[in-house]
Symmetry: C2
């Protein structure tokens, strides 16, 4: 943990989430300005919804607004041209599993993978549920395809993601993106200014105790 | 309509919505800076949810975050001390009916009523479903209590709200607050900066044609 006693910004996101994508393009700069590091924490929003009994029923008006209006408008303001994943809305199980598999070896590599995956899904429009896409993204950051392919099927890799999802639920995460700074939760990319302000503060000892 | 050819900012909100309340405290200033007026448009979010088949099932983690963390934090930043309505979450049928009843007589009076109602619900913690509260709020802006009480039960007043809800759905409104500027939709209080920027622009003729 860099920044002396100050913990990371926990950055929870679903690869299939457009708001997660937009936040992912900014979160490292936010953390750098605040003198913190980012702990990247992908999870499966669908699994969280199921666990807490939320209806997976999509709101038709909301989806049209989010994908047709709000996300393109925010992306435009950020200088990005969004192209939704071919299978949207779907899960992003393959990349999420591969992230934690890589994270156990090399955290910096896992972050490079996460950024590349997000760009493949939301700038190139690749399907989030497609294992081949995730394996190709891994190859783009130097991972041998056959190894990634094998990893996706390993019980330990599968279990790791189940555990991470459960941990996210225990921490109160219910949306993407979702940031936690010294125990304080922030939901949504429109809270990044608040996250940065909070992250600039020095954590109190009690908050550090609670978290660690 | 003030501001020459430029239409109003349509401001849709549910009196039972905390984000609607926070936006209501800012929307007139936003419009004034942009040289527009505000068309206040309360509606019943529950009726919209039902009409579009959204599950009314509340997400337990989300509710705790919204009411326990996010709304108080935003209110604090705005210099307001929130107190949730005693019956939250509930509908705000009485104030919404009274709003349109007043709006037909005197639009400025209806806006004063809306602001007073929002303050009663979200600063004083009065129940949104309680007809007596709505009648008392009406009295605070000069309406005789017995008249407001009678109005609440009139079929024409009831039908007016049904019609307004249907109109909101036809315009794609699905959340509170929800703003429409020259046909462009904005969902959420965190979009007020974008609303102001958009409202400063002069509407194109085609947009005005589409809207009117």
């Amino acid at each position: 943990v860099s920044g002396g006693r100050r913990g990371p910004i926990d950055f929870y996101f679903d690869f299939a989430s457009p708001y997660g994508f937009l936040a992912a393009m900014q979160i490292e700069a936010v953390a750098e300005r605040a003198g913190r590091r980012v702990a990247w924490r992908p999870f499966l929003l669908g699994a969280v919804d199921k666990a807490v009994g939320q209806s997976p029923l999509e709101h038709p008006l909301k989806r049209a607004y989010v994908i047709g209006v709000d996300v393109p408008r925010l992306a435009h303001a950020a200088g990005l041209a969004i192209k939704a994943p071919a299978d949207f809305p779907s899960h992003a199980m393959p990349a999420t599993r591969l992230f934690y598999w890589l994270d156990d070896r090399d955290a910096a590599l896992a972050v490079r993978f996460a950024v590349a995956a997000y760009r493949a899904y939301w700038l190139d429009g690749c399907g989030t549920a497609d294992a081949t896409v995730a394996i190709n993204v891994a190859a783009s950051v130097g991972i041998v395809g056959a190894e990634a392919d094998l990893a996706l099927g390993q019980p330990a890799v599968k279990q790791r993601l189940v555990d991470e999802n459960e941990k996210a639920i225990r921490r109160g995460v219910f949306g993407s993106p979702f940031m936690i700074v010294d125990g304080e939760p922030f939901w949504g990319g429109d809270r990044l200014t608040q996250v940065e302000r909070r992250a600039r503060e020095t954590a109190s000892v009690s908050e550090l105790d609670r978290r660690e």
